[in-house]
């Protein structure tokens, strides 16, 4: 029970630190671009069952907050979502660190964090670039499924390369990482969207930059806070010479 409590505490702190940092940087980088893109967004509902086509439910620019209260609420919800994202990823990364059973500190945690960045930010973005509101995309469920496959595959591949001894396991990991990209991400028939390409390009770079910073802080703080836990996961390695004295 003590191990669970300490793991969850480490994940909570690491998640809050990284989520807070991401929130600050996002407000200066990605969020203004999202608001800008929403000026171009027009949402058209799918045809009704009787084939009758309704008009757009949102007019151009309607998504942009109009009052200070709305803007504050929107920022607050985004911060809450970032903190939850941080805690969720920190729990998953912490579990991976614990299962790997190798000692960690802040610097080794940074490497783990960069692995997390590659797995859930860089690898999915290779097929599905970070997208702004109003950009054309294939069916959502397909994209979510592909995103999960790309992230899980990249994570499995990196873990296999780092820790597996068996060549078949390493080969399976590399295959899992490559397969979603070989099959290809789901894309719309026409990539045309209302968002200016320069805005979209800028957003891709800033989204990846924010994620890199987020993961660096998440990994380093996870490693730092789990320093004592790694000893719990691999307790006898350091203590073997003194085993008789216990």
């Amino acid at each position: 029970m003590d191990l669970i409590r300490r793991l969850f505490t480490a994940a909570l702190v690491a998640g809050v630190l990284s989520g807070t940092a991401a929130s600050v940087v996002q407000q200066a980088t990605t969020v203004p671009l999202i608001l800008e893109a929403e000026k171009y967004e027009v949402v058209t509902p799918p045809p009704a069952a009787d084939g009758h086509q309704h008009g757009p439910v949102r007019e151009v620019g309607e998504g942009v907050p109009t009052s200070a209260g709305e803007a504050i609420q929107r920022v607050g919800l985004t911060i809450a979502a970032n903190l939850l994202t941080g805690v969720a990823y920190a729990l998953l990364l912490g579990a991976a660190i614990l299962l790997a059973g190798r000692p960690v500190d802040a610097r080794r945690g940074l490497v783990w964090g960069m692995g997390g960045f590659v797995a859930v930010s860089l690898a999915p973005s290779f097929g599905l670039p970070p997208e702004l509101p109003g950009m054309a995309g294939a069916e959502l469920e397909l994209r979510q499924l592909w995103w999960l496959a790309a992230a899980a595959g990249a994570g499995a591949g990196m873990l296999a390369l780092a820790f597996a001894r068996n060549r078949a396991v390493i080969a399976a990991g590399v295959l899992a990482a490559a397969l979603p990209h070989v099959l290809g991400a789901p894309h719309p028939e026409s990539a045309e969207g209302a968002v200016p390409p320069a805005l979209a390009a800028h957003f891709v770079a800033q989204s990846l930059g924010c994620a890199a910073l987020f993961w660096a802080i998440l990994g380093a703080s996870c490693g730092w806070l789990m320093g004592g836990l790694a000893g719990a996961a691999e307790p006898r390695a350091a203590a073997l010479p003194q085993a008789g004295a216990r």
């Binding site: 991401a22 990605t30 970032n82 969720a88 729990l91 991976a96 997208e131 959502l140 987020f214 085993a243």
Partner: protein, 69 residues
Amino acid sequence: MSTNSIRTAGSAAPSTAQTTAQTTAQTAVAAFAAILLGSFLLYGVGFAQPQQIHDAAHDARHSFAFPCH
């Protein structure tokens, strides 16, 4: 890795092996609990589609490059 050290320690001192086996079980339980809660939170914040959850997490989803809408 840790399995080998368990066995080495176990042949010399059974009580140590017992403690290590307990630690291994604790590690597995803690990691499983973290994966379960982490996946649940990640699904909620990044993937769930009910309108209110989607709207609340909207800017975070776009910033983190989750497929959003």
